[in-house]
């Protein structure tokens, strides 16, 4: 049991730019041959908030887990105050002085605030918990953070922000020197973020080093002194916040070399652009469409043979936009019309009947039904649209499956194989086939090329072009900006859950998109058509 220490007696009053507090070098970790971390290093100084950034799969979570001993690293040294440590579990890491607070607060909501603060290390006398003493100390600890709570009340009575601060107070009170915060602000509103930041500033003044994982760039510049960026398990760069302008940071995160990004992007003319002399009218339009706390209201028009790309960082509201349009989430403002008639989009089933299709980003949890066969997965949406009483005969199913297995080159070409046994790229093709079988007017693709091999990647891009040429409207979310640039007729850039810019024609370039993503100044109006987005 860790003795209770008054939080302010042993914290060294190190200057904010002091000597390295935590140093990690040469961190590597492989999972089944896949390199999740490759020679990553990070130096945290006392009194510093250090942003750890990167897109999905960059290795942030793995790095944190390796630091705290939750996952055993393959190689690498970790030292705290110059002394090498090797925690083998989260508890050992806490004892060594490294505490972690996760996005989902790991506390017991039904216990009191005081009990949560001192869980597992309650002050006791003769083996009995001294409730009064515990409450007194809890009040004192929270007063440090300007928090005046009824410490006897259950934790769940307080807001998520307060729960976060209690979790942080608990971590710091356990003599933490290093505090790791994994997306602490993901579920907080602006005011709550300010309260949290006030706490973090106090901690910095006390010489505690903070590792701050987030997707919100504004917050990085508001609170952090230094930034480390990971990309594909490698160190993409590390710099002080002052030395790293936003645009460079976004480039670093998305992996665009300056030379590459500024080179004129190759824009292949789409067949639709050549054929369609007159621009076809929009068949589906969204006006002031949005949902509070989800995506700010936006305008969007979808035309046959027209590809709209959604670009932005992780968590910027791209997926949320697609879910609103497909009826998987429900808008609380604005109107949607299809062929001039207002539609409610209350469910995916309704969207399906309107001729929409949707390949979600989370292929395994929201796309495939793993134990069903490739054939059954392919016919699922078509069958759902036809309804229960009009089953596709087995022969029709076989024909549809065979057709798409041939057309999209799904391997192995066995329609009776459970789809869960296929590779990611082939699962994705089968999901595309599911929607193509319904002959949709609008196909929404959320990260269609994520996590699939290079060959399948190229085939899916080629397919997007072909579909477009056949007059299908496409809405594509992608982190691969070079890809978006080659096929999109219009690119909408999102930031902090709002549509902030709309690029068309020759404005669609990788540097142009990067600049829009990195755009910092809210006073400066976005380039086009996003007036209501604020």
């Amino acid at each position: 049991m860790v003795p209770i220490s008054s939080p302010h007696d042993d914290a060294p009053a190190a200057p904010p730019s002091g000597a390295p507090l935590l140093e990690l070098t040469g961190f590597s970790k492989s999972f089944a041959g896949f390199k999740a971390l490759d020679q990553v290093e990070l130096t945290l100084r006392a009194g510093e908030a250090h942003a750890l950034l990167g897109e999905n799969g960059a290795g942030k979570s793995t790095l944190i887990k390796c630091m705290t001993g939750v996952v055993h690293r393959d190689a690498g040294r970790l030292s705290l105050d110059g002394v090498e440590i090797a925690p083998r579990s989260a508890e050992e890491a806490v004892k060594a002085g490294i505490a972690t607070v996760y996005q989902e607060v790991n506390l017991a909501p039904n216990l009191s605030v005081a009990q949560n603060l001192f869980l597992g290390r309650q002050p006791t006398r003769f083996g009995l918990v001294r409730e009064g003493e515990m409450r007194r100390r809890a009040t004192a600890v929270l007063a440090e953070f300007d928090l005046d709570l009824d410490v006897a009340a259950p934790l769940e009575r307080y807001s998520v922000a307060v729960q976060h601060i209690v979790a942080i107070a608990r971590a710091v009170d356990q003599s933490a020197r290093v505090l790791i915060l994994d997306e602490p602000t993901a579920s907080l509103d602006a005011h709550e973020v300010e309260i949290l930041f006030a706490v973090l500033r106090k901690l910095k003044a006390r010489g505690i080093g903070i590792v701050f994982v987030t997707h919100f760039l504004d917050q990085v510049y508001a609170i952090c002194e230094r930034i480390t960026v990971l990309r594909n398990g490698r160190l993409a760069g590390s710099a002080t916040t002052a030395e790293l302008p936003r645009l460079d940071l976004v480039r670093m995160m998305l992996g665009r070399e300056l030379a590459q990004a500024t080179a004129p992007a190759e824009r292949a003319p789409l067949a639709a652009r050549e054929v369609a002399g007159a621009r076809e009218a929009a068949f589906a339009t969204f006006e002031n469409y949005g949902k509070a706390g989800y995506v700010a209201p936006f305008d969007l028009a979808l035309r046959p043979g027209h590809v709209v790309g959604l670009a932005g960082l992780l968590g910027s509201g791209r997926t949320e936009t697609t879910r609103l349009i497909f009826g998987a989430a429900h808008a609380d403002s604005g109107t949607a019309t299809v062929d001039g008639a207002r539609v409610a989009l209350a469910s995916p089933a309704e969207a399906l009947h309107l001729g929409f299709g949707y390949c979600p980003e989370e292929r395994k949890t929201e796309g495939i039904v793993a134990e069903l066969t490739v054939r059954e997965n392919i016919v699922l949406a078509l069958q759902a649209r036809r309804g229960v009483t009009r089953p596709l005969s087995r022969r029709e199913q076989d024909e549809i499956a065979a057709k798409f297995i041939r057309l999209l080159d799904i391997r192995p070409p066995d329609p009776e194989r459970p789809i869960g046994l296929l590779s990611g790229g082939n699962q994705q093709k089968a999901l595309l086939a599911r929607w193509l079988a319904t002959q949709p007017r609008l196909l929404i693709l959320d990260e269609p090329t994520r996590g699939i091999d290079v060959g399948a990647h190229a085939e899916i891009i080629a397919l997007i072009r072909r579909l477009c040429a056949q007059g299908m409207a496409l809405l594509v979310v992608s982190s691969e900006l070079e890809e978006i640039v080659t096929y999109a007729d219009e690119v909408i850039v999102l930031r902090d859950r709002a549509h902030v810019a709309r690029l068309t024609g020759d404005d669609i370039t990788v540097p142009g998109i990067l600049a829009a993503i990195a755009e910092a100044d809210p006073a400066q109006p976005p380039p086009a058509a996003a007036g209501r987005a604020a």
Binding site: I368, V369, E371, L372, L380, A384, V388, T389, P391
Partner: protein, 327 residues
């Protein structure tokens, strides 16, 4: 319509044959069947006849479990519907009696479906409500007594015979055929398997998962009502305390023995009925062997354990690593 004869069904059929063989060893006249007064008699016919209520229950339960749900209330629903049938049998015509009993079962199923599909309550809790309350409702209907009746029309459903086969067997076979027709003859089977396998993916593919959930629980209630009427017709009365008692567990067991996972997804109607017959064959075998009937419970527990072990992926992994094969 494809009957989907089981890629995996051999083990259940082999188990049933093995138990029947053991019964034959224990009681050499097990397979003797004789015709008496136009009705077949014999131990094998007995297994089928006594197994009918659980087999009928399992035809509803298998669909609920395929949707990753469970229905604990079917035993209580049997008691309610049996009580209604027995109370009305001597004062009303058979169609009225059946309409009332089956309608009540349908309502019970819709109630469960409403709790699960619309209010989003966990199935085990949602159906627990009716499991507890249902027996009370049945007792209110019978006013705490054992209600008996003399109506020969209703009695025929339990004790009569059609072309020599006892009516409960005929009802079970007819219901099996009807269920296969409804589920596999339409797209319902595919949509149920998709929803049970991955509800989020199915919903995003446009499947009306909520309506299907409601329908499946309603069907399960209807099956329970039929089982309740057959059970009441068999004993010419309704005992609200004991009718269908613990049969929900037998029905769940039958479905699991039939190879349908409690995690939902793939299911087989025929094998669920085979599972019910396996359970009844065990019951009959123990009675024939002269062991005290209490042993039945222990034997059943061993069979459940064996089935679950056979389905456990971890054990399969262990087995394949022990024997040096790749999973």
């Amino acid at each position: 319509m494809s009957l989907r004869l089981p890629r995996i069904g051999t083990s259940q059929v082999v188990a049933l044959l093995a138990i029947l063989a053991i019964n034959w060893v224990v009681s050499p006249q097990f397979f003797d069947i004789r015709l008496q007064d136009g009705r077949l008699f014999g131990s094998l016919i007995d297994v089928l006849n006594r197994g009918a209520p659980v087999a009928i229950l399992s035809l509803g339960m298998v669909l609920v479990i395929a949707m990753r749900g469970i229905d604990l209330s079917v035993g209580a629903v049997m008691a309610i519907c049996g009580a209604i049938a027995a109370s009305l049998a001597d004062s009303h015509s058979l169609p009225v009696v059946l309409a009332a009993a089956l309608g009540a079962g349908l309502l019970c199923g819709l109630w469960n479906g409403f709790l699960v599909a619309v209010l989003g309550i966990q199935p085990i809790v949602a159906t627990l409500i009716l499991m507890v309350a249902g027996r009370g409702i049945a007792q209110l209907i019978t006013e705490g007594r054992i209600v008996t009746f003399t109506s020969p029309e209703l009695a025929f459903l339990g004790g009569g015979s059609v072309l020599g086969l006892p009516t409960p067997i005929v009802i079970t076979l007819a219901l099996l055929a009807l269920t296969v027709l409804i589920v596999r003859g339409t797209a319902l089977g595919l949509l149920i398997e998709a929803t049970g396998g991955n509800a989020r993916a199915a919903a995003l593919a446009g499947v009306g998962t909520r309506l299907i959930t409601l329908a499946v629980y309603a069907w399960c209630g209807l099956c329970a009502a039929i089982a309740g009427v057959v059970a009441a017709a068999d004993i010419l009365g309704a005992d609200a305390n004991n009718a269908g008692l613990w049969l929900e567990l037998d029905a769940i067991l039958a479905v699991v023995i039939g190879g349908t996972s409690l995690f939902g997804g793939r299911f087989s109607l025929v094998l669920a009925v085979v599972g019910a017959l396996i359970i009844q064959a065990m019951n009959t075998g123990i009675l024939l062997s002269g062991f005290p009937p209490e042993t039945n419970l222990v034997v059943k527990a061993v069979v459940v354990l064996a089935v679950l072990l056979a389905q456990s992926p971890r054990l399969k992994g262990l087995g394949s690593s022990l024997f040096g094969r790749r999973a």
